[in-house]
């Protein structure tokens, strides 16, 4: 695995009033890896993602994504983002949704058609046909979300709680998809509080507590221990205790 950084956050702080949602956070995401970004609710995960996407600017520190500022269109052209839960346009079907997002990415109609057909198959929405998105289940909407994130063939995927609403089978398929994407050379930033899933797919994990990073490391370094799995690390750093 190459070690050059795709995302670099340096001493980033983002405050809302007196509260620091992100507090002096330094983090790097390396090319071709899956980085798990873990924390409890309100730990600052989504705010960090907003900073990485250029939706918000840091009060202090610097954010660099793919070597540039995240708000630049040239940078965004190489980022695929899947939000936690989005109720995509209810009056479109999956083909129209992808045509819309493809148009926003500046892709031509033929490219959109070819990529959309492949992606719909890949995320398991081929059976949905021309059904409107308002009739989709939560899991199907999540699949539509990953399809729109992959449509423009991005180098970096930012996934915010991608497993929300997925049934066990869909989780397995989703996990396989992420591993496939990594093998294709994509870099994946995986924000979640699903420890078991993160343990299965992530190369490295960063744990966030009240906006500050409390642990970051490679899972292979701790996996051989036999005692110290991700749950123990998580508990140790977040609750200040070690599970029996």
């Amino acid at each position: 695995m190459a070690t050059n950084s795709i995302v670099e956050l340096h001493e980033v702080t983002r405050r809302f009033g007196a509260v620091a949602a992100v507090d002096r956070l330094s983090l790097d995401v390396r090319q071709g890896e899956i980085l798990g970004f873990l924390g409890t609710n309100g730990a600052g995960k989504t705010t960090t993602i907003k900073l990485m996407l250029g939706f918000a600017r840091p009060d202090e520190g610097t954010v660099s994504v793919l070597g540039g500022a995240p708000e630049r269109p040239a940078t965004r052209r190489r980022i695929g983002y899947m939000p936690e839960t989005a109720h995509y346009y209810p009056y479109l079907d999956i083909h129209e949704l992808l045509r819309f997002y493809g148009g926003l990415c500046g892709l031509d109609a033929a490219t959109i058609r070819a990529r959309a057909a492949r992606l719909i198959e890949r995320v398991g929405l081929a059976d949905a046909g021309r059904r409107l998105l308002r009739h989709y289940s939560k899991g199907m909407l999540q699949r539509a979300g990953i399809a729109q994130a992959l449509l423009h063939d991005p180098d970096l995927l930012i996934l915010d709680e991608p497993l929300t609403g997925l049934d066990p089978l869909a989780r397995i398929q989703f996990r396989d998809l992420l591993l496939e994407l990594r093998s294709e050379g994509k870099t994946i930033f995986f924000s979640s509080h699903e420890l078991s899933e993160a343990e299965l797919i992530c190369d490295r994990v960063a744990i966030l507590k009240q906006g500050a990073q409390v642990w970051c490391g490679a899972l292979r370094d701790v996996a051989g221990d036999g005692r110290q799995n991700l749950e123990r690390i998580f508990l140790k750093h977040l609750a200040g205790e070690v599970a029996p």
Binding site: K50, P83, A86, Y91, G103
Partner: protein
């Protein structure tokens, strides 16, 4: 440039597709045809000339429905994006906020104007069948100016959608549009007749309010009066464009600063 056009086209197509899929327009069209058809074939007291007043009555729902559609579409451009959280994947794409705004506005205009053309076609066909007058010049001028009205109302609705809740936006915009439509012409007289500070307030409304009454050629169409000079049409169209651009620039300024 090609990329920008593709982005704008995608955004505009979304607004048009959603309007037709939501079936709101179908309901409004059926309602307006239900009003237009009986009126078109109704001759009050058997007096031929009196049917003009029936035509005037038929034009009124077209104005009301076009305003309702333009406001309904433009006021719904952004709030659902925030509510359903689709604003995040939207802004994560390589599209700047100004383009997003322009695309959405053009989509709202295209959707509302397509409905307007259908209304005018229905009216033109019905009066043509009855009176043998097929789309006279004044009718086409009325359509052109009515399109200017739709553009102004859409811009106003879009601007309001960035600062107000959808219901507040619809209420305020409806009041402003209806108020200016019926009282806009009388404002200069009212300003002159009021003591300070009421005259200053009315003067402000006169200068910043959308003068939608400029776009109303109903009476000319109904009474088969001669067309207005084209330079007047152009001046009113330019007013519509200028007013819409000012609204869009204000909306852009708000949207760029808006925290997501």
């Amino acid at each position: 440039m090609i990329v920008w056009l593709r982005q704008v086209r995608a955004l505009a197509a979304l607004a048009v597709l959603e309007l037709y899929r939501r079936k709101d327009l179908v309901v409004v069209l059926i309602l307006s045809l239900l009003i237009l058809c009986p009126l078109a074939f109704f001759t009050p007291f058997g007096v031929k000339g009196a049917s003009r007043y029936v035509n005037e009555l038929a034009m009124l729902p077209i104005w009301i429905f076009s305003a309702v559609i333009a406001l309904g579409v433009s006021a719904r451009l952004f709030p659902p994006e925030f509510e359903s959280r689709t604003i995040f994947p939207l802004l994560a794409k390589p599209v700047d906020r100004g383009t997003l705004l322009a695309g959405k506005f053009l989509g709202a205009c295209a959707a509302s104007l397509s409905a307007l053309v259908i209304f005018y076609l229905a009216y033109g066909l019905l009066t043509g069948v009855r009176q043998g007058l097929w789309f006279p010049v004044v009718f086409l001028q009325a359509l052109l100016l009515h399109a200017g009205f739709v553009v102004v109302v859409s811009a106003l609705g879009l601007l309001g959608s960035l600062v107000l809740t959808p219901s507040a936006n619809l209420t305020i915009c409806s009041l402003v549009v209806a108020g200016m439509f019926f009282y806009g012409q009388r404002l200069p007289g009212l300003v002159a007749g009021q003591p300070p500070p009421a005259n200053a307030l009315l003067g402000l409304i006169h200068w910043i309010g959308p003068h939608v009454e400029f776009f109303d050629l109903r009476r000319r169409v109904v009474h088969e009066w001669p067309p207005v000079p084209w330079r007047v049409c152009l001046a009113v169209t330019a007013y519509a464009a200028a007013y819409a651009i000012v609204c869009l620039l204000a909306a852009r300024s708000l949207f760029i600063r808006k925290k997501i």
